[in-house]
Symmetry: C2
Subunit: 301 residues, 2 copies
């Protein structure tokens, strides 16, 4: 069975896949039945008439050209493969500003030793987790271990150490912080607007480790300018990897920005882990098994 | 029964204590049987010949003039009253540098968008927790919820989600991070030396939320200068509240410093909580009960 791969693979992955597939990287793709990709274009897809399974190495699937993927082609994502790393990063993005570590550390460097920034508690405080997938679930469990009153928001009810709600308003109203780990799909695009952010506590911290486009760009800008004590801490940006496009945010004193490094882009080891899990799924498919993380096409089209 | 108080009390605390004690703040202290203090001097103690119980509002008791406290006087501390706040702060001091949030955020502000700082994982990594009291136990549980391989160090064995050791070397060898929440007493003073820090991973993060004097000042300075990737993140300093004395640390790029704000000094609400718990202990004593957190004199003398 021919497998199309369009990104660099570690040698072990190449060898392992070689036992089940004939790997092709270009030229004639007319016999390709399976594709292993990070991203894929409509042009590439057009060359693979026999394609029936696409394994994506990333957790998110929002960047695929869904309109060009025929309905009979099964698409598998890689949710969970980087979830530990991203959940840890979300906690760091939350705690660094929330506990005023960055601000106090900068003050100390300047020789300003005044204790004039009150430090809010996590314990007993309402904290919203938006999205209860692999990442959100982990974040919620860590926050619960810290004694927070966790509110879990997602479309479909899910049990865990949180109060469940499918109302974004209910999740955010009065919350001292929120961690957004929603996938980007047709339901979530632009979902978090100014009105929602404005429901949060005056000095709330909003963390995004999902996709920037879930949150309305102008809404964030507006609340950041209206409320100097509101903090936006995000790893993901509307310009994707073209970070210069969102530079106006990084310049604001109430923004903590990182360049999309929470998962595989920030750590070679996490990337390797993501590849390993995707390879496992490809082998399951080659053996006639049912792959994990099969995407619901209707979430994107 | 006369109660000597030498710091400002919230009105509710004053009223509640007034039901059980006659509060005195100066003048003739010869009938004082109980003292409620934040700190106390040998001079004050000399004026209270009938003293038999001291309730301290802070968790640490290292600052008391132990040589001047007669052996028959019972001393109670306030461990646990600020433990949630301090444990949360310890996690923030650990994660902000460990996950490179501060460094990346500064880079983004400067317009440097390169992803050139690998971000280590917490999950599956050896992390040491020094001291398994109210704070250390909480930190260990949060780290366990993050999937870390937690090593718990204390003098006496204690069960929890950690591998216990009473060997500091074993706790720190190869550890990617350590959180120190040891009390300062005659056993722990100067306990963590250069040789111990040198056992940790090259790019380890050492967090201190206990007392500065547990760690050897010159040892920390030496490892910070020898290993640019070693990070020291501390809320406590050898000069106590005279932060200027340790300014040479705050200037180092691999130091994250905060001005002793993890607990009651950083948050009015936490301070009130500490006072409330101490008041509860004083009422227990007035009613003839056994107060909590009774100090072991032999730990200090």
């Amino acid at each position: 069975m021919e497998l199309y791969v369009n990104f660099e693979l570690p040698r072990e992955a190449e060898e392992e896949l070689g036992r089940y597939y004939k790997i092709v990287r270009g030229g004639d793709l007319s016999n390709v039945e399976v594709a292993f990709v990070s991203r894929i274009t409509a042009e590439e897809l057009a060359k693979m008439p026999r394609l029936r399974f696409i394994q994506v190495v990333t957790a998110g699937l929002d960047h695929l050209p869904w309109e060009s993927i025929p309905p009979h082609v099964v698409v598998a994502g890689n949710a969970g493969s980087n979830a530990d790393a991203v959940a840890e990063f979300a906690m760091a993005l939350l705690l660094a500003p929330y506990k005023r570590v960055v601000q106090y550390s900068e003050k100390m460097r300047r020789g300003d030793y005044r204790r004039d920034l009150p430090i809010p508690l996590i314990h007993g405080r309402k904290i919203a987790v938006l999205g209860l997938g692999e990442i959100g679930t982990r974040v919620a469990k860590i926050l619960a271990a810290m004694g927070a009153e966790v509110w879990g928001f997602s479309r479909t009810p899910k049990e865990g150490p949180w109060r469940f709600t499918n109302s974004l308003e209910e999740a955010l109203r009065g919350a001292k912080a929120a961690v957004c780990a929603l996938p980007l799909n047709k339901y979530t695009r632009g979902m978090v607007k100014y009105e929602h952010l404005a429901l949060m506590a005056e000095d709330a911290v909003f963390v995004n480790v999902g996709r920037a486009e879930v949150v309305d760009r102008e809404g964030v800008l507006r609340i950041l300018k209206e409320r100097p004590s509101f903090i936006f801490a995000s790893d993901v940006w509307w310009g994707r990897s073209d970070f210069a496009k969102d530079a106006e945010f990084y310049a604001l004193p109430n923004v903590y920005a990182t360049p999309w490094v929470a998962g595989g882009y920030g750590n070679e080891e996490v990337w390797m882990q993501m590849v390993r899990e995707a390879v496992r799924n490809l082998i399951t498919y080659a053996r006639g098994g049912v792959p994990r993380n099969i995407a619901r096409r209707e979430d994107y089209i």
